[in-house]
Amino acid sequence: MSFIDLKGMLQPLGAVKQLFKKPHTIQYPYETNKASDNYRGLHFNDLDQCIGCGNCSTICQNDAIDMISLDNIDGKKGDSGLRPRIDNGRCCWCALCVDVCPTGSLNLTKDYIFVTDNPNDFLLTPGLDNPDAKDRLSYTCDMNTSLSLYDRVPMRELDGKERVKSFAEVVLGYSEEEARAEADRCISCGLCTEACPENMHIPEYINAIARGNDDDALRIIYDNNPLPEMCGKVCTRVCEDVCALQVRGEAVAIRWLKRYATETAPTVEMIKEIVDPKIEEPNGFSVGIVGAGPAGLTAAYYLALKGYDVTIYEAQAHAGGMIMYGIPKYRFPLESIDKQIQYMESIGVKIKYNTKVGKDITFDEIYTNNDAVFVGIGLQNPWNIGIKNEDSPGVISAIEYLKIINSDETYDVGKKVAVIGGGNVAIDGARVSARFGADVTILYRRRVEDMPADWEEIEGAEHEGINIVPQAIPTRIIKDEKTGKVIGIEYLKAKMVAEDGGRPRPVAIEGSETIYECDTVIGAIGQQADFDWLPENYKEDLIIERGKIQVNDLRQTGVTKIFAGGDSVKYGNSDAISAIADGFNAVKGIDKLLLK
């Protein structure tokens, strides 16, 4: 080939014609480049939506995200109060932080130009430093694109029609595989631990389950809860209400995971072997405890571990208090309670059954023979409904009814039952009646969404064919004039009225009287403590206000030596876990008092 290749020399010159084409790069008039709709530019965080879970800062493999306190944001339950700050000198705009943000508050924007001569400006607190970027969101993440796992592993249950035939446990529990999958969803932020009255080490035991170390999970659980099998089955699980995943999806099934962990130790021996509790040498102090409910039992367990000589005085034949005599057995079977109590006794807790303080033994005796006393008597007396004919045969309070059934005695509710109330106790009374073949209706003053009962319990009741009549205010019980027995209940329909923007209240609609015919009326509108056993001289010093004993944060009463906890004190939510927290904290108090 000769060097002079005419075609090869001239062809390239054809490029000259490009001179007359519209240029690609320069635009007149000048236009700024518009970033695409999912451009990954600077961050924006919706500070109100953000709950400070810190998942962004955990995933960031560049360590670009710090969680910091901001002046105008305080922590509360379900919000750590911290917010992410991005070191833009480190960020690589991978947007993983966005894809793992459980609430969707953190997003990237179209802002890709950021010029400043102050290096500190590159530490940007999204949302605070760039509030206007809200309108330029680009790379966002919805529930489909998110890496968070929003759907709970469903819990297997007996079918509703099957359930009402017996007291067999309704919830079947997670299999190992299901538990691991559910545990994997947890992002370990720990927001739940603050909401839990007992501040259990939730992320830790869930993570132990996720990693397949069930024994460690159990050990972590027993670190501050000696009744986990009960909590695993029936806890009110306020922790789940603040789960980071719950903001957009379903909370991690914390309760079921705890249940799973306890199920890996089906016998007392196994619990003892796995938990391997360290029992300290006797320290020479003795503590007397009134009432073997969750509060008393918890105090007893941790006191015994610390070397105290502990004796519980319990009026009933079984320990457990309301978790024994209140909670129906299809939720918390007898074997489970027995196992938990046996485990406690095996580490040295002494329980004197059938010993009612004030009757079988005097409180003075307990008080003088012990270095400290813990009172956990719960709420044993029901409130009256407060309507006409309440004393007729066929009217019974839920806790009395449940106590009869749980003591394996009988009570005939007939064919049709009306239950008054909207809490868990009402639902329990209703579901137990349904198990005896009754047609059950719950009358509740407010709307279904206002019912304080657990949503799963309400759903469970509905699946079992229980009818809920909301906005119904009972007015009188109708009795058969001859036999005196209940034959129905009359109620007024109510409308919901919100006064001054407050919580809507039910207001009876005049003339809306309706009669529901029934054989039994079960009242479930609350309980109160019974202090009759307590000598007068203590009553004053203890300070009892509105039916509840007043205590400080170490659960110490007005009497130095007397500590109290559970439903009968002012702390907590009147549930088992609050009672446990009281017992646990009282141990700290007693320790402080006696060991200094």
């Binding site: 060097f3 290749d5 075609k7 090869g8 020399m9 062809q11 390239p12 054809g14 490029a15 490009q18 690609h24 790069t25 970033a35 695409s36 709709d37 999912n38 451009y39 990954r40 998942n55 955990t58 995933i59 493999q61 690589c92 705009w93 991978c94 947007a95 993983l96 894809d99 793992v100 990237l108 680009s138 790379y139 694109t145 890496l147 968070s148 796992l149 999958a181 545990a183 994997d184 969803r185 947890c186 992002i187 370990s188 993570n207 996720a210």
Partner: protein, 368 residues
Amino acid sequence: MVREKETTLYIGPQHPGITGNMMVKLKVQGDTVVSAATHVGYLHRAFEKLIERRNWIQAFTLLCRFCVPEPDPMELTYARAVEELDNREVPERAKYIRVIVMELARMQSFMLWYAGQSGSAGLYLTPQWSVGDRNYILDLFEDLTGGRIYHMYIWPGGVRRDLPEGWTDKTLRTMDYIEKRLDEYNKILFDNTIFQKRAQGVGIVPKDKAIEWGVVGPVLRGTGIKSDVRIDEPYEVYDKIDFDVPTQEGGDIWARALVRKEEVRQSIRIIRQAIADMPGGAYYNKVSNPMKWTVPAGQAWAKTESVRGEIGFHVTSDGGNKPYRVHVKGAAYTHGVTVLEKILPGQNIADVSFILNSLGVCPPEIER
């Protein structure tokens, strides 16, 4: 002829051509290279080590940075290795999307190659054009992934987001445009005598040595050996797509250039088919919570055809939530060291970066 004195000459470590920071230490006599030695170490970021400290998903954001001109095959190869270990199915739609992304990645990388190859021959018009046109492909990436160069888009289980609305139409329009432009590139580059003279007979990789030296990709195909992971060991949906693997004889820069010239067109062909055949449905088979997701213990070797040839990932898991070891092998690892050192002697100094470009040497890939 007078025997000239031997001198030492350093090419780099500033970008020799546009391949990245590395240095070739040359011994020259006059204008002729006597021996060459590759020196790297200017770009070492210890990615493989850093990955061992990150979980499987976090690691994915580092991968694309192994090779600046061609980040996507890194993501894909890693994803495939992890999917093999985890026995994870990838939805059909994701496979098609991956193929499209791979071919777009190939095209944008070719555009850079055009720039480097002609720029290192002193022809500066092509770089202006091709880098400009590359931006139209990067626009597509931006629309799809939110990023222009580093996409962090293909991850274990599928892809990160579904195609945005109207994206396929825009892609097809861009393909039509690029196809037209390729004809114009031909005129200024391939038909250009200067380029032909510079490329022909220079930087020859001998056919009989090529495989033994570990040569892959267009460089290997330029010696007449038909080898392409996409047909040898088809992945994603390459076996359902009709395309040719061009080869050329000669093993010189010219042969490699001709191979590449044809490959861009094949990419357009693949993209059009993939868009036409793409099914609907899921684009991602979600993995577990990234902080906790574990991958069964084992080792997997996945390979992908990048624009410079085979990219392989050797991924080892000990069953934990972090990779135990990830070893990345890019085409440049052999091309930039063994092959380069072997073919430079006897060449003219002026051709060194020209050769570097035609071998597809990407220094960040050598030292990672």
